[in-house]
Each structure stands twice: as structure tokens, then as C-alpha cells.
């Protein structure tokens, strides 16, 4: 285990511990602890997945990319079929899992695969715009149909990020962004409730019901102050629905205070820096782009959620990575971290030897990166 992985896992581990603690606190008024137990089980499953992904040879990951992609797309299709189940006005669940979460893995894998394979032609419109669009488009469209606009926007942003890192043109990225924005605007104007939320953001006083969630969230942060009301003593959990998923961050702010919220932000910054370093140290293009994609997914989702609950972004339901309740979410996030750790193992094992210029007795066994 190298230093970057250690720091990364420390940050992730702390967030997971905080996650279960806050979930217990936010659901403490229920008469049993089913949710906490379920989430703990999900964490356990996540750890198994993490271990497998972190130990497997990346060669196999590269080879299985399109199987993962196909499987995810199929799952998303099934979700939209009558097999999927609706909750809170959106068809996002398939047999108790959220395929749109799994799509995050599929997307970063496929984009990294595509960008690594065609990296020399990415500056062309056909490969850079149409090719990238063809890879990401089906997944994004299926997720948008659920509808799950938050995840769509997040993954669209990740796509642009990977495109840029892979050497795509800024103009192409801007073009794609504009198309995405236009499409998103159209869907939002057509659907009433998303419009309500936008309105709540723009004109809070005119949309009291929609703005209430955000106001409660801001009030909770404010009530928490520097050192918080104390674990379990917050009142936000009485007032706002989804307090254990999308709105867990204000619960942390209310109960544990500014120190904890800044700590969470710091943990994500650490994860961001670790991810960037791993991407920096990777030699293989697939590895570089994969590390970048994963980093963008985690950091982007964290930014998005914290931006929403602090009133910086419109109210769009998206979970806070590692912390919000949701089994699929935590397993997927652990898998992504597993990939990062795997990438860092591959990268760092060559570095000390190369830098020191010394012969490593195990060099031959470890530096075979020819794939």
C-alpha cells in the first residue's frame, strides 16, 4: 500500500463512519434501526467489491469495459420497463438497486477506454464530439428518461472533463456543454416540478413550499454554528423529507457544527487531490483517463450536493458520496475508490525505482505495464 492510497482510504473511511453515525442520528426516531443495519450491510458489500476491484489486474478491467457498459445499459432499459419500480415520481429502481448509480462506473470505464484508444484523433469533430457523444449519449439519455436530471448533469460534466483531459478541444467541449444545457432547459421547462424547484431557487418568496426544504437546510446550518447542537439533538430531521439522503449534510452541520462540515469538505478535497495525483502518476493513458473520470465523478457529485444544500445551486436531488443513505450508491462509490487504489498500485510501483535509478530486485515482476 502506498502513501496516496493510505491517505485516500483514510478520507473515505472517515466519511463512511460519519455516514453511519449520521444515519443513526437522522433516523433515531424510527422505532427500529433497520435503515442503519441495511446501510451497514451495504458498506460491507461495498468493502468486498472494493477489495475485488482493487486487487484485480487492470488488464481485465480494460477488457471487460464494454460488458459492463452493455450490462448497465440493459439494466437502465429494464428500469424504464414495467420491471422497474417508481418511487417519489421517478422510475429509478430495479430490484432494489439504482442502475443509474452503476452507470457512473460504466461511463468512466467506457469513456477512458474510448479516449485511450482514439486519443490521437480526439481533436477531430467526428471522434471528439460525435464519438464521445455516441459513447456517453445512450447512458445519459436512459438516465434522463427515468427522470434523474441530477445524475444526467453530473455524468455529462464528467464526460466533458474526460474529453478535456484526453486532449479534446475546448471548443468541442463548449459545444457539447451548450447542447446539453439546451436539452436540459427544454426538459426542465416541460416538466412542472423541476421548474418549481428552479423557481424556488430564483424567487424563494414566491415558491414557499419548494423553497422550504432549502430554507430549513440553511437554518439548520445556521443553528449548528461552530460546534453544533450535539449528535442526535438536531431538529432538521423532524422537518424535512429526504433528510437522510440528499439532505444529510445540513443534519451534520446542525448536529456537529462548522468543524464537521469543513472536515467533510476537506475530506473530499483530499480525495480530489489523491485522485489527481494518481492520474498524474499513471503511465498508461487508459489509467490516466480512468483516474480522472473517477475523480471527477466523486468530486463533482460532492460539489453538486453541497452546492444544493448550501443554496448555491438549484435544488436537485443528488446524494452526497459515501455519506448519504443508499445501498447502490455506497457500493458504487467503494468500487470507484477500489479502482483508484488499483490504479495507484500500478503507478507507484514503478516510480521509486525509476526515480532512484536503482535496480529493484522485483522490478521485472512488477513493472510489466505493456498492456
Amino acid at each position: 500500500m502506498n502513501r496516496i492510497s493510505t491517505v485516500l482510504l483514510l478520507a473515505v473511511g472517515s466519511l463512511l463512519v460519519l455516514s453511519l453515525t449520521m444515519l443513526a442520528s437522522a433516523t433515531m426516531l424510527r422505532d427500529n434501526s433497520t435503515w442503519v443495519i441495511r446501510q451497514a450491510v451495504a458498506c460491507g458489500v461495498g468493502f468486498v467489491v472494493f477489495s475485488l476491484v482493487a486487487l484485480v489486474d487492470l488488464k481485465w478491467v480494460h477488457r471487460f469495459t464494454w460488458y459492463v457498459y452493455g450490462g448497465t445499459a440493459f439494466a437502465l432499459l429494464l428500469t424504464l420497463s414495467p420491471l422497474g419500480s417508481r418511487r417519489l415520481g421517478a422510475q429509478r429502481w430495479l430490484f432494489g438497486t439504482q442502475p443509474s448509480e452503476i452507470a457512473k462506473i460504466a461511463l468512466v470505464l467506457s469513456l477512458a477506454w474510448f479516449a485511450a484508444r482514439y486519443r490521437h484523433r480526439l481533436t477531430s469533430f467526428v471522434t471528439g464530439v460525435l464519438g464521445f457523444g455516441a459513447v456517453a449519449g445512450p447512458l445519459l439519455a436512459l438516465i434522463l428518461l427515468e427522470p434523474d436530471k441530477g445524475t444526467t448533469v453530473l455524468l455529462g460534466g464528467v464526460m466533458l472533463g474526460v474529453l478535456l483531459v484526453a486532449g479534446g478541444r475546448w471548443s468541442h467541449a463548449t459545444f457539447l456543454a451548450l447542447i446539453g444545457a439546451a436539452g436540459m432547459a427544454l426538459t426542465i421547462f416541460k416538466s412542472g416540478y423541476a421548474m418549481d424547484r428552479i423557481n424556488a431557487f430564483v424567487k424563494p418568496e414566491a415558491n414557499r413550499d419548494s423553497a422550504a426544504q432549502l430554507n430549513q437546510s440553511l437554518y439548520a446550518f445556521s443553528e449548528g454554528g461552530l460546534d453544533g447542537k450535539g449528535l442526535g439533538r438536531g431538529s432538521l430531521k423532524f422537518k424535512v423529507p429526504e433528510q437522510h439522503t440528499d439532505f444529510i449534510f445540513p443534519v451534520i452541520g446542525e448536529e456537529l457544527g462548522l468543524m464537521a462540515t469543513l472536515g467533510v469538505v476537506a475530506a473530499f478535497v483530499v480525495i480530489l487531490l489523491c485522485g489527481a495525483s494518481i492520474a498524474h502518476r499513471a503511465e498508461d493513458p487508459f489509467h490516466v483517463f480512468l483516474a480522472a473520470g473517477i475523480t471527477f465523478v466523486i468530486a463533482g457529485q460532492a460539489c453538486f450536493n453541497m452546492g444544493v444544500v448550501t443554496g448555491l445551486l438549484p435544488n436537485k436531488g443528488i446524494a452526497l458520496p459515501f455519506i448519504s443513505r443508499g445501498g447502490t450508491g455506497v457500493v458504487v462509490m467503494m468500487a470507484l475508490v477500489g479502482l483508484l487504489v488499483n490504479l495507484s498500485r500500478q503507478a507507484v510501483s514503478v516510480e521509486p525505482a525509476a526515480r532512484r535509478g536503482k535496480a529493484n530486485p522485483f522490478e521485472d515482476a512488477d513493472t510489466d505495464l505493456s498492456q
Binding site: S222, V240, T261
Partner: protein, 704 residues
């Protein structure tokens, strides 16, 4: 591959994210540390509070039979202005629960109005003032039903909350319909047929946009007002199932005033007045609970985030009183009150070994069920609260003290001076009643025949301080410590003055405090005041081998399920006289019943020890020859006393000389003792251990 470009861009974007995180961190610092958010901005979420009333505890007798119970009843009231057009539907809904026909309910809920003073229009839902803007609530004539059990009201409330009113129902049906149409269309076209799928979806969302807002409105504002259109007026009724039985011990409870409008669902507080209700008011009173739920928009957040504090009912107070013994006492008192026609009469039954009060009654009495405040005369617990000069029953203390000091022997002879004696060195002349003037007799006989001269002579053998110490040791001049509200005349001999404060409704008069005559007055029960309970407890001390007990009337505080919270054990106050002195005292008290003035107290199966008392009352600053305070205190079986019974009558009729303690009160004693002893199954003491009848007079008894 241009890895340096990738790395550069990677770091560029990472710094972008870093900047975003910095902005978020800045925002957090701003909200949490610098600029607090005003609470009113966050006030959208609605808190709903449902009070949960607690019941006042019950009062139980020694066998857990209820003596006082509480019940919550509800008067259902309606506000027709809020119910509006839903009156009929609400009436149909609640009719089966209230078991009142729906048309009757609907009629009672129909809006009506009349013109009140100053030209105001008063409706049965609210008073509409002339300027139409201020609407005052009046509660007038709009009770739908009264005395509904509280649990029933909860059902009504639940049903109202869950009921989907017709309009809501049709909207829900429309919604289901739209959903089904959509599903059918999609199924027919196949979900892969994108145009058909999208158009069906669009159609559905158009419908939903019409239905949902209306439904939301109905569920929040409208439903809210309809639910509030029906409201309870909760009352707690205090039930005394045995009517006036032990009314003075139990006391009564009155309804307080509701000061807080938020407490509408809570009964007005019951305030204990008199007796146990007053003394244990805090323990009997429960603590109300509350159910707080939150509403967010149209979503009711009950199941997940409710704060539910259950009501805790008040503690049950378990008395030492026995309902059956109490009923014997009440019956005896009723009869005596009718025949003797006294101003008042009281009786106390005590177990001497524990100090438990088994029964306690007074006449006149009152019925606590009536809820009105009884008259002072009826309310007064005379056995505990009205001190009077006890008279001859106090000779028990005088003789016991002298026996304990070894100053007399029971068979010692004493000159009773034919009933007239000038106390040496004073102007005091002691007179015996004509009935028992005696010459030189034994101490036992002097006691049994209740010679005043004898008692004073015995009393004066002790110095005054010793005598006062015995008085105090026997529990006089101090509270007995019964937990039922007692009053004792406060007496201050130390300053050389005897202060008697006025008691309730009684004018002590006459008594001039401590003077040269006091030492010769005390030995036969004059010159100070004692309550019947004090006399009874002093007698119980003799019956209990010379140990004074604290009278115990409450044995435990229990929860509703019978769990004992506090147990109150019998308390020995002190040993007053030696065991031998107590035994000698029992013997001469037996003589008082068997050969002396208390003959009418004697029983066939039990040996009774006792003492009569006939005190002259002070009328017009003189001791009267027509107003008497008659009493009898005794216990049985004398060999192993189980019951001490004290009966006293204030001013019994003088007809047929029945004002004597031995004539007025001893028969009452006999009546109570007979019933109680057979109820308790006391072992007949006049039978030997082998069942042989020892007392030859009681021929009625057959060995078995």
C-alpha cells in the same frame, strides 16, 4: 500520447473543483459562523401538536378496591363555519362512533345565529361582530354529544384524519384512472414505441397537473379546517363509587380553570381539596403527554419523525382503610346520628400493632360526587381536625403514667372522698358525677368507675413536668403525623400560658390558659384540647404493649399496573410505658368495661378493654350541665389487641341520660367491634385454646 497535456488539464480541472470546494467552504463559514439565518425564513414547516391527557390516579382501599376513580370524558363540539358543506358527510362518518343518529348530528351541526346584545350576530360557530372582520369564538349550544369516553374521541379523531372526503376521493379516482389509461396505452403500444409512449406520458402529466394541486389543497388547508371543525372538550370526572363512604378521608377534587388555550385537548386540571385528595395531590396528578408531528408541504411526516411522549397517569394511592370495615362504621354512625341526635359524631378504627387506620368516619358528612363545595359543617373531618377537652378518656394516660412511674399499684386503695374533694392548697373543688360517688376503693375500681377525685389524686402524685412529659409521649399537644390533613390545637405550656387557638367552627371559649388549677385539671382530661385521633393513638399505645405508633392511612403509592412506587411502612414513634405498666393498664381498662362505666361495650366472644368519657362543654364561659362531649375508646381482644375503636359524640341528646360516654358511645363501639371482629375473623378470646368456653355467661357459644 501527450501525457503532459493530460496532466496539465487534469490539474487545471482539479483546481477548478478545488475552487468549487473553497466556495462551498466559504459559504459554510458564512452561514454557520458569520451570518445566522433568521428563523422565520425557515418557518414553513408546520408543527402539529396533539396533547395526550393523563388521568388522575385512583384511591384504593387496603384490598385494592377502588374508592375514587378518574375517567376522561369528552364533549364533542362542532364549528359549523369550519365544517361548511361537509357537515352531512362528517355527520355520517362519526354517527356510528357516537351512537347518535346521523340526522341528529347534522341538525346539531347546522349553522344558526341570533342577534345578541349590542346588535352582534352570534352564530353557534363563532360570534360575528358588527364589523364583520373580527370573529370571536363562542362555545354555545353546539355540543354534539356529551360524556363520550376519551378513547372513543380518539377513534373519532383518527377516523376524521384518515377519511377521504368525497371530493378528495373523486380526485384520487381520477388520478388512478389517468395512471391506468397511461399504463394501458403503453402496454398496447409497447413501451419501445417511443412516440406513443411519450404522448401517453404527456397526457398523463397534463391530467396530473390539474389534479395534484387541488388534491394538495384539499389535503392541507381544507382538510385541516374540517378536522378542526370538530373538536373535543375534555373533562376529567372524579368518581366516588361509594358515595359518601369515607368522604372525609378521601376529600374531593374540584375542576380548575383552563388558562392556556393550547390545552384545549386537555382536561381542566383537577385540584384536590381536603383529605387524601389534597395531601397527595401532587402524587395523584399525572403528567400529560404530547404527540408532535411535522408536516412538510402536503406530506404528513407522522410515521418517520413524530415525537411521542406518552401520558403518564397519576399514581394510585392505596389506603390502609378497608371498605367493609368502613361500611360497618358508616352504618353504625348513621344509626347513632339518628338516635343520639348529636351535633356531630365520629368513629375511628385502628390496628394498634401497625397504627393502620382501618376506618374513619364522621357525621355530618357529604357526597363528594356532587362536585359542589360542601358546607363547612359537612366537610370537616372532626376525628382529625376538631380538638376538644377529652374528659375521662384521658385518665388512661394519667393512670398509665402513674403505673409506669411506680407511684400506684392496681390493687392499692385510694380514698375517693365520696366524690367531693378540695385540692389542697388551691381553691379547686373536684366533683364526681352523682352516678359514681365512692369511698375508699382500689385504684382499679376508681378507674373503672371513672372517679375524678381518684384520677386527680393519682395525677398529683407526679410532679407537673413528669406529667407533661407523659402527655407529650402519648402524642398529645403535637401532631400525630397522619398523612391526611390534621389540625391540633397548638399549646405552649413553656411560657406559662396555655394558648388554645380557635378550631374550625368551634369556639373553645372558657379556657384561661395555664394557671394554678391546670395541674389538677389535666389528670381527668380538662384544661387542654385533644383530637379524637390523639386519644385513639394514645389508647393504641397501651394496646400495643406501651409503644406509640404513628397512625398510617396510606400504605403505598402504586402505578396503574400495580407496581409499587413507594411503600409506607408502619412507624414506631416511641415506647411510652414499660410493658408491665401497659399490661396492668389493660387489666384495669378491662375492669372498666366488665365492672365499670363501659358495660355496654362488652362483647360476648371477646374481652374488651376501654374507657368512657363524658366531658362537660364550655357554654357561655362556664362548664355546662346540659352540653356534653361523650366518648368511648376501647380495644379488643384485650389479651392480644387487634382493634382500637374510638367513638365520640358532640352534644348527644340528654334524654334518658344518654349523654354519658358509656351510654351514647359504648353501644356504637359494640356495634362496630362486633361486625369488624367477625369480618376480620378475630379469634374469640373467651374461648380457650382447646375450644372450652371460659366465660360461663356466654352460653350461646358452642365448642367446635
Amino acid at each position: 500520447m501527450d501525457t503532459s497535456l493530460s496532466r496539465r488539464r487534469m490539474w487545471l480541472l482539479s483546481w477548478g473543483f478545488g475552487a468549487a470546494f473553497a466556495v462551498i467552504a466559504g459559504r459554510l463559514v458564512f452561514i454557520q459562523a458569520i451570518a445566522p439565518i433568521e428563523p422565520q425564513l425557515a418557518a414553513e414547516s408546520t408543527v402539529r401538536t396533539f396533547p395526550r391527557p393523563a388521568k388522575r390516579g385512583a384511591i384504593l382501599d387496603a384490598n385494592r378496591q377502588p374508592m375514587v376513580l378518574s375517567d376522561l370524558v369528552v364533549t364533542v363540539r362542532a364549528d359549523p363555519l369550519k365544517l361548511g358543506m361537509f357537515t352531512g358527510e362528517v355527520a355520517e362518518l362519526i354517527a356510528p362512533l357516537l351512537s347518535v343518529p346521523a340526522p341528529v348530528i347534522a341538525e346539531r351541526m347546522r349553522p344558526s345565529y341570533y342577534a345578541a346584545r349590542e346588535g352582534r350576530l352570534v352564530t353557534n360557530g363563532g360570534a360575528v361582530s358588527t364589523n364583520w372582520f373580527t370573529v370571536q369564538k363562542v362555545r354555545r349550544n353546539n355540543g354534539i354529544t356529551t360524556n363520550l369516553a376519551y378513547s372513543k374521541w380518539l377513534e373519532v379523531e383518527e377516523r376524521l384524519r384518515k377519511h377521504r372526503f368525497s371530493e378528495e376521493l373523486s380526485l384520487l379516482a381520477a388520478r388512478t384512472n389517468a395512471e391506468e389509461t397511461y399504463r394501458r396505452t403503453v402496454k398496447q403500444a409497447g413501451w419501445w414505441n417511443l412516440p406513443a409512449y411519450l404522448s401517453a406520458k404527456k397526457e398523463r402529466s397534463t391530467l396530473m397537473r390539474q389534479i395534484n394541486p387541488r388534491l394538495a389543497y384539499l389535503r392541507t388547508n381544507s382538510l385541516e379546517s374540517r378536522i378542526n371543525g370538530l373538536y373535543p372538550e375534555v373533562m376529567e370526572v372524579r368518581v366516588y363509587p361509594n358515595s359518601h363512604l369515607a368522604a372525609h378521608v378521601l376529600g374531593y377534587a374540584t375542576n380548575g380553570v383552563v388558562t392556556n388555550r393550547m390545552q384545549r385537548h386537555l382536561p381542566p386540571p383537577l385540584l384536590g381539596a381536603q383529605g387524601i385528595e389534597q395531601r397527595f395531590d401532587a402524587e395523584l396528578r399525572g403528567s400529560h403527554g404530547v404527540l408532535v408531528t411535522h408536516k412538510f408541504g402536503e406530506e404528513e411526516l407522522v410515521p418517520l419523525r413524530s415525537r411521542d411522549v406518552p401520558a403518564v397517569d397519576g399514581l394510585n394511592v392505596r389506603l390502609t382503610l378497608d371498605l367493609n370495615v368502613q361500611s360497618f362504621v358508616e352504618r353504625a354512625l348513621d344509626e347513632a346520628y339518628a338516635t343520639l341526635q348529636p351535633k356531630s359524631i365520629s368513629a375511628i378504627v385502628i390496628r394498634p400493632k401497625s397504627g393502620d387506620v382501618l376506618a374513619l368516619g364522621n357525621r355530618p358528612t357529604y357526597n363528594p360526587n356532587l362536585g359542589s363545595i360542601p358546607s363547612l359543617e359537612a366537610m370537616l373531618n372532626r376525628a382529625l381536625k376538631v380538638p376538644a377537652e377529652p374528659g375521662s378518656t384521658f385518665k388512661i394516660v394519667t393512670y398509665a403514667a402513674a403505673l409506669n412511674e411506680g407511684l400506684i399499684r392496681p390493687d392499692e386503695r385510694i380514698d375517693c372522698e365520696h366524690g367531693h374533694w378540695n385540692v389542697p392548697g388551691t381553691r379547686r373543688r373536684i366533683n364526681d358525677d352523682q352516678g359514681h360517688s365512692m369511698d375508699v376503693v382500689t385504684v382499679q375500681e376508681a378507674f373503672a368507675k371513672s372517679s375524678n377525685v381518684g384520677a386527680v389524686k393519682v395525677g398529683l402524685r407526679m410532679n407537673t413536668n413528669t406529667f407533661l412529659r407523659y402527655m407529650r409521649d402519648f402524642g398529645f399537644l403535637a401532631r400525630t403525623g397522619i398523612e391526611c390533613g390534621e389540625f391540633t390545637a397548638s399549646t405552649n405550656f413553656a411560657r406559662g400560658q396555655l394558648h388554645i387557638r380557635r378550631g374550625y367552627g368551634e369556639s373553645p371559649g372558657g379556657l384561661g390558659g395555664w394557671d394554678g388549677l391546670t395541674p389538677s385539671s389535666l389528670p381527668f382530661g380538662y384544661g387542654f384540647y385533644a383530637t379524637p385521633l390523639q386519644t385513639a393513638m394514645a389508647t393504641a399505645a397501651i394496646a400495643n404493649d406501651g409503644v406509640l405508633m404513628r397512625p398510617r392511612i396510606v400504605s403505598a403509592l402504586e402505578r396503574t399496573d400495580g407496581d409499587v412506587v413507594t411503600r409506607i411502612d408502619p412507624v414506631q414513634v416511641r415506647r411510652v410505658v414499660k410493658s408491665e405498666a401497659a399490661a396492668q393498664m389493660v387489666a384495669i381498662m378491662r375492669a372498666a368495661v366488665e365492672e365499670g362505666t363501659g358495660g355496654q361495650a362488652a362483647m360476648e366472644e371477646y374481652s374488651v378493654a376501654g374507657k368512657t368519657g363524658t366531658a362537660k362543654k364550655v357554654v357561655d364561659r362556664k362548664y355546662s350541665n346540659t352540653h356534653y362531649y361523650a366518648s368511648f375508646v376501647g380495644f379488643l381482644p384485650a389479651e392480644d389487641p387487634e382493634l382500637v375503636i374510638m367513638v365520640n359524640a358532640d352534644e348527644p341528646t340528654t334524654k334518658g341520660k344518654s349523654y354519658y360516654g358509656g351510654k351514647a358511645c359504648a353501644p356504637v363501639f359494640h356495634q362496630i367491634a362486633t361486625a369488624t371482629a367477625s369480618y376480620l375473623g378475630l379469634r374469640p378470646s373467651l374461648l380457650g385454646t382447646n375450644g372450652v368456653v371460659l366465660n360461663l355467661d356466654s352460653t350461646a357459644l358452642v365448642p367446635h
